[in-house]
Symmetry: C3
């Protein structure tokens, strides 16, 4: 079961143009495009006539023309033209989805009924380009959503799976602290490492040599939004009581976790940093590093899913590092019960 | 369920040689070859010994030798040699199928019992090479037979799916007329377009510039044979009352619709034209165009079948352009009931 | 059902190094490696923490570190380290398997409980390198174990499937003799060919020109070990009554038949010869020939399995050449009953 009454990342803003794209989100086929007025549009990706994907059609001005027989739909999914006749049968409209563009990400509301804007995650670090530089991307993982949640909530895997880029021995050995805010439904996982090795991902961009203090503060907003507040600073230079933190380098590592089918998930990512702002070379370096990191996750999760697909019995033994993931699973289960209750 | 008591196109004549080919027709594995006497042969493509495909064997004179253990079968499917012994067990024969070669197509009778030659479609335009030039080909579509019937019975899709070759705006906007002959079991769909654009497929071969009169008269003989009588003529030059039609260019566009499995179909095609007869350059041009057109259909139907395979609920809304396809479905259903009745 | 209480070939000795390999044997995922002490190790290829394959981990000295979160296992499968904590939960160990290295092959005991060394096949021809030269290899076949047994027990297929290397007309036409030793559970199939063609596999290595006497004496030790005693000799030079056979060339063609899943099997092979001992060029020639022969079997059996996967009804007609295979099937069925009885 999917948690429908939520916002999910549906596309990178850069992916939407007058050439439609197709995504399967929460098991639903969605066609998305930007019309000639610049408006972003999402409609069900299935022509009601004979089922052809509308994403294979053509955007003509502000309407989308099906590529098989020419049935034509406006931004609201209303059928506005049928070949060979003037009368348009009433059953021919398709569902339209609410989209919101915020910086490099486009969010979609997957619930029925009106979109709840109060639930839309805030991402000012993606739009305040005077103070933050952003790179972004997306990968498709052939693994269940839950495997990606497990992965992101336990960063001790960085030491082993990502040891050439962001993983150092201290990530795995440093204990975590987990906090849950049941009211605002946020899972926090803190890992503060003092006087530790600085991995290439940060040393090559911050210029910090030798040991650093490194903080990884996760905020997970189930189901679909994850923010890792990363702080890299010279050893022994904590933030001041007033919150200022001039010696440190900050990066927000965002993930949009968007279930595609029961066994696949989109892994949207974005990196916002408050250093080397506007430096294209740093953009390219981080983008290349992050694409490699994400691919390591993709490969690992694909393998886990393949094992599940084979019918392998899943026995798990959990230890302390798993507390964040276990708490997240619990909150997702609660949200599921909540959604079911709401439907009845 | 397949409609077995019918002739289907099984191969292009050019495909049959002493090197056997394999086709799955109506769910049955069939091996076909031309023996050293030039006779065309079709037998069940499964050796009764251990199940190896006979199509992987070797034609030696007039017999087919299995490539695994050498069991040998004559043109009638009778086992005539067994390795390591003289006695041939009686259960070792395989089914032989009736084949008829007519011009560029080879037809197979898939019914049990004797082949009914009265049901074999006539295709004189494929053999009268003094007056008609022919090009032909075949594509495999990973989609159910019914999706190909839908496709061919509603040519309004030419405007959208084949707009670079045969589709013009007028195809989709011109109303059709549908006639059904329940006696001879033919579905006719007429679309007569007056004073319309001539697409490259015809303008580049007929030399007609500017507007033309264009007729598309479909005759569908369910289940497996489809003939599109295409007429291109200067504007305002109808056929004379005596049937003569000297100003016009005629093409017969044939399709052999041969179900392979429940979810795949062979799309045999042939184009016979009464102009530029014997002109190789026109042959090559039409062949290249038609291969591209067929590939556009293949891609579209494969996608529709993928959606069905995913378990997508198929809701359809039909409009006027669909009348030909709906009538064809109805006649196919009747033929199915007829075949079932006949069996009981 | 698999016959677990047996030794199977699990790897070529040359495949095991400090870089682990993964095999699925009798449906079980197994990770194998050679540790820094040179010891060969096999453990269940699934980390008990979150199910990641241990074969993707890293051998560090004598332990294997999981590539996802760093859980660490010794040669006996005991978990010896967990990230982020000192206490090691007791349920974290994985199954270890008994391995035995004998020449070019590594054997694994797949039964539960202690390995029964009395059941380990003897292969002195792989280790007596003063008198025998050996080449070896392995192929994976996407076909059920039983199809490979059928294949190897009936060598008449050499004439048709392997006619460019080891097959000659006389293999298929020469009758076989079959003997079964129910006590020692061996199936023997003898084929003695007198004054016959010498195929390239032997003529190019022995230097024998013209006709030869050729013996193929199969010993099959169900389920997993097969030995073909091949004897090539000048015509009319049988072994002497004292067993000496100085004029003949001998080759032992070994197969290790190791079920992977219900529908796949590893086809390990090794060729030990008592002629041209130490001649690298002959090694390379035989290796190349045998790889091609095995590939012909792989292709044929893959096709048979594809037919079965399609749901094709398997009807068989057996003749004299099939007696060896039928006897082998019978003995395998008996072993299966025996294993089931033993479990109850």
């Amino acid at each position: 079961m999917f948690l429908r009454r939520n916002w999910y990342v549906a596309a990178l803003a850069s992916e939407l143009s007058e050439r439609p794209i197709a995504r399967t989100i929460l098991g639903e086929h969605v066609a998305m495009y930007r019309n000639s007025s610049g408006q972003i549009v999402a409609v069900a990706d299935t022509c009601p006539h004979r089922g052809y994907p509308l994403s294979l059609g053509t955007v003509v001005g502000d309407v989308l023309v099906c590529g098989y027989h020419g049935f034509t739909f406006d931004c609201g999914g209303i059928c506005v033209a049928v070949p060979g006749q003037d009368r348009i049968p009433s059953r021919l409209s398709v569902r339209a989805y609410s989209l919101v563009e915020q910086g490099c990400w486009v969010w979609i509301w997957m619930g029925h009924g009106e979109a709840d804007l109060s639930k839309l995650p805030a991402t000012p670090w993606m739009t305040d380009t005077d103070n933050w530089s952003v790179v972004s991307g997306v990968a498709k993982i052939d693994a269940a959503f839950g495997l990606l949640v497990d992965n992101l909530l336990d960063l001790s895997h960085e030491t082993f799976l990502h040891n050439g880029s962001i993983g150092t021995p201290e990530v795995a050995t440093t204990p975590i602290e987990v906090e849950v805010d049941d009211e605002s439904r946020v899972v926090n996982v803190y890992r503060h490492m003092a006087n530790v090795e600085c991995p290439p991902f940060y040393s090559d961009t911050t210029g910090l040599k030798g040991k650093v203090d490194r903080w990884q503060d996760i905020e997970y907003f189930p189901p679909g939004f994850y923010k890792l507040n990363s702080r890299i600073a010279p050893v022994g230079e904590p933030p001041l009581p007033d919150g200022s933190d001039a010696h440190a380098f900050h990066m927000k590592i965002f993930y949009g976790l968007t279930p595609s089918t029961e066994t696949s998930v989109y892994d949207f990512w974005a990196l916002s940093r408050d250093f080397c702002v506007g430096d294209d070379a740093v953009d390219r370096f981080l983008e290349k590093m992050q694409v490699a990191v994400v691919q390591e996750d993709v490969d690992a999760l694909n393998i886990l899913q393949q094992r599940i697909n084979e019918g392998q019995e899943l026995t798990e033994v959990s230890v302390k590092i798993d507390r964040g993931g276990l708490v997240a699973r619990h909150m997702l289960a609660q949200l599921g019960e909540h959604e079911v209750t709401r439907l009845h």
